[in-house]
Amino acid sequence: MSADHPSDPSRRGALQCLAFGGAGTLFVLAGGVLAPLDLAVAAAGRSASAGSGVPLFLQISDTHIGFNKEANPDVAGTLKQTIELVNAMPAKPALTIHTGDITHLSKPEEFDHAAQLMSGLNITELHTTPGEHDVTDGPGTEYFNRFGQASDNKGYYSFDHQGVHFIALVNVMHFKPNGLGGLGDDQLAWLEADLKGRSSSTPIVVFAHMPMWTIYQPWGWGTGDADQAFSHLRRFGSVTVLNGHIHQIVSKVEGNITFHTARSTAYPQPTAGNGAGPMPLKVPSDQLPKMLGVTGVKFVRHPLALSLTDTTLA
């Protein structure tokens, strides 16, 4: 973007930059391994890195509709720019996953605004899991009124798409005493039953809001009982675990399990332990677009793998 407007300090220029910075991640399932696809690259038609594989789904996270502080006074604008970027992609996946913090304060009008913005996305099938910002009013309220149907108001559910088994988990309603997220016994029992009898060659995608491995315990960046979930998941040949929550990309590969956190479309957060807490990070406006984004996943059959691509707005 800066090449087009090298010295244009106007709001329009800034918004165009934001557009490229705020994109999500498109996941490409390549040979069973998910790969994030660079959306800016995809949108520009320079899809060499993502050339082989079927676009499987888009992950969008931490849209925080309702946030209006200085770290990004226009979160609706950056989400819109993200959606435009996705809509401009030559090959679009069939579904979008939102990994939570759809809203900032769980207010009905924030959910309404988010739904209105998300309706601009050309990918019509949307799957969600709540972030802690979406359920500040407790269980069974605004989030569940809108998205509870898929799970009989439990929040966690599974479905199949193009041979991949998707599992939505909720780790923001049973916090551990040390501040880590938690799944709880009921959900773990459900997960065990859901996976029982499935072939280990089925590619699995697990998505939840908070990281499913401990990135930084003092800030609660982890899930206290995730190990019990992985005891049921380890036998599978391809497991991709996607989260949001920390507004930056951190990833890890452990055996057949790939862990990946997505960027926010709203505002960045500090790296682990850098500052008083995980609060919105104010960065120079020309840096913001580089710190917002989405993740894409592509499915590549030979060898069976999923590949992930992260895309920023700039």
Binding site: K69, A71, H104, E132, D137, F175, W219, G220, G277, M279
Partner: protein, 121 residues
Amino acid sequence: MSRINFGRSLGAPLAFGALFALGVLIAVSTADNAAAQAQSPNTVVIKNFMFMPMAVVVKAGTTVTWKNLDGEPHTVVNDSGLFRSTALDENDTYKFKFEKPGVYKVFCGIHPNMKETITVQ
């Protein structure tokens, strides 16, 4: 640090609260020295992802007020489900009246590593 923030942000109401607390303190001290020692203001500020003070002691019937001074929202949630605030944006407040003596554990539902204890005598 917390005392300075207290004074600046809450001003007169806090000063009044402090005087009131002092009155209580004197009244109680005649009856029970140990309890009096632990009396504290009935206002909690939330700043830099912390409840301040982290331990509050009040008498039964006291209304405690929480005020969020962070740009990030916080909630005030009792771990046994007695009370739960909505998400408090910057400068929002929440009040709860403690009727019964006991030890009430409180955390932020958005950042559950933020904790405090309210002791009601």
